[in-house]
Symmetry: C2
Subunit: 315 residues, 2 copies
């Protein structure tokens, strides 16, 4: 399908899903006119609430995300799911793509689901995710659920772009110090103990409370909630949705909440800045890079001098 | 201790551990003269073999790394361990630091151990790790073991800077598709099935073989090895060390190996380039960034235009 820029802009304003899908693809592929369209629709954004969901592989995130999406749907909200994956270039993404589709069993056509995966090795995933969020926001989605695969830095970066961060844990998967290791304690607004019927749920709950009690207290501070779910049956999904609602009110109405939103924006701009810089340097200086790599290999140039040469203005 | 630049350069050449520790700290703190010293010692680098070790939390990486270090020591090699952690700013790193020290029980003073953790939120970890590797390399270490915490993108980025990548797995922790999810299949040169006395080791071994058989075959290609260990007893450590040795010969003597080393260098230069660019833009344009964030919040400026303004040459 070929849409003109104006058709894209109008389609987004109408919430046309074909246009949404098309524009996300154009943005993913770095088509220049996507950026112009995104600028035009930017004033429409800022209404959606973005919920990041992260946690260890096998924690049941996809199932939980489905249940949350259904709960919001039942409450009359327009919901989109972005499943973000640092796909292996090795597997070409096919195995994974199928897996995600299988995991998201929801047949509800009113829930928009999109998988996003890294194409190249050089990241770009944060930018693609930010673009998709912006497009969905402008298209009138009330809730955008961003689901990531693991708990590494890339996931933390992506989840940080969310207004509310859910961290999904399961009883009996490593001790709680691992939570700190992954660096996710400070980004969690809600902890979800999934598979809460398993042994160890009480212990995990208690450990989390202790870890959270170590955090600095503040009058205006958000105190992370701990909820329990059994995603396969939907148990507890309502409570999580209520928790997100409370956090959404906090982030929109308190001074510290505004601070957090400014922090998210700053983070997003810095992510974009990094990717744009990299893209420009590498597209215009491919040959120089290749030469410098060979020189470093021969120990003729050190990596810092190589970087200086790459950053020097072109003649 | 205050060393002059020349004392630092000479100390590294002698392999003086106090100087090594000092220079790594200077580099971590971004002290400008560290860079000058690093340039001076760069020609001494390129001899060390860098082994990256990654895997899920709880896979027993620290114990395995200790065993490997001891095995190499026993074979007369000079060994350093870098334990790299995306530490939580929340915990201030203290809990984690202790944990690492506890995990590395090795009392052998001839094995140099250093923990590296993110200080700020803006990464810099890859640069710090690359700096430390370079310094240790110049100081005459034969083997540098870089151990990371998780299997996220940051870990993959760090492990990619290694000549040989070990991926540590344990039986019964999630199915094998998760391996692909984490995007680590294509970076592994050796798979180590640790805790191999556990149930499920045979199944994991078989699954890995099947996954590897899906990879493109090539005459000159490195075929990832699969080894089994019980790190707590040291069983299998010798086999892993032999495997790394084979890989080291492959990477140094084959055309594809050279290609891989060039790829590592390119990756390193790009990492440095990103961090240097970010650092410069943000140090000189803090106020502009703050203003643009506020403008984006009010929807007066869109993030892409903000990035353009940040990238515009200063007047």
């Amino acid at each position: 399908m070929n849409f003109s820029d104006q058709e894209l802009i109008d389609g987004i304003a109408r919430g046309d899903l074909r246009v949404v899908a098309r524009l996300i693809t154009l943005a993913e592929n770095g088509v220049p006119r996507a950026r112009a369209v995104q600028r035009a629709i930017f004033p429409r954004t800022g209404k959606a609430h973005v919920v990041g969901v992260t946690g260890a592989p096998g924690a049941g995130k996809s199932t939980l995300v489905d249940q949350l999406a259904r709960t919001w749907r039942a409450r009359g909200k327009k919901v989109a799911i972005l499943a973000v994956d640092p796909t292996s270039p090795f597997s070409g993404g096919a195995i994974l793509g199928d897996r995600i589709r299988m995991n998201h069993t929801s047949e509800d056509p009113s829930i928009y689901i999109r998988s996003m995966a890294t194409r190249g090795s050089l990241g770009g995933l944060s930018k693609a995710t930010l673009d998709a969020i912006q497009i969905l926001d402008a298209a009138g989605f009330d809730l955008i659920l961003v689901e990531t695969v693991g708990v590494g830095q890339a996931e933390v970066d992506i989840v940080r772009t969310a207004d509310t961060c859910l961290v999904v844990l399961v009883p009996g998967m490593g001790d709680s110090v691992q939570i700190i290791k992954a660096g996710i304690l400070e980004i969690a607004d809600l902890f979800v103990i999934n598979k809460a019927d398993r042994e160890g749920a009480d212990l995990l709950h208690r450990d989390l409370r202790i870890l959270l009690s170590l955090a600095e207290a503040g009058t205006d501070r958000w105190e992370p909630l701990i909820t329990r779910t059994i995603a396969t049956t939907g148990e507890g999904a309502g409570e999580v949705v209520d928790g997100v609602q409370s956090h959404s009110e906090w982030i929109r109405n308190s001074a510290r909440g505004k601070e957090k939103r400014l922090g998210i924006l700053e983070h997003n701009i810095i992510q974009l800045l990094t990717e744009v810089t990299l893209e420009r340097t590498l597209s215009s200086k491919r040959d120089l890079l290749k030469k410098l790599v060979a020189d470093c290999y021969e120990r003729k140039v050190d990596p810092y001098s190589a970087v200086e040469q790459l950053l020097a203005p072109s003649i």
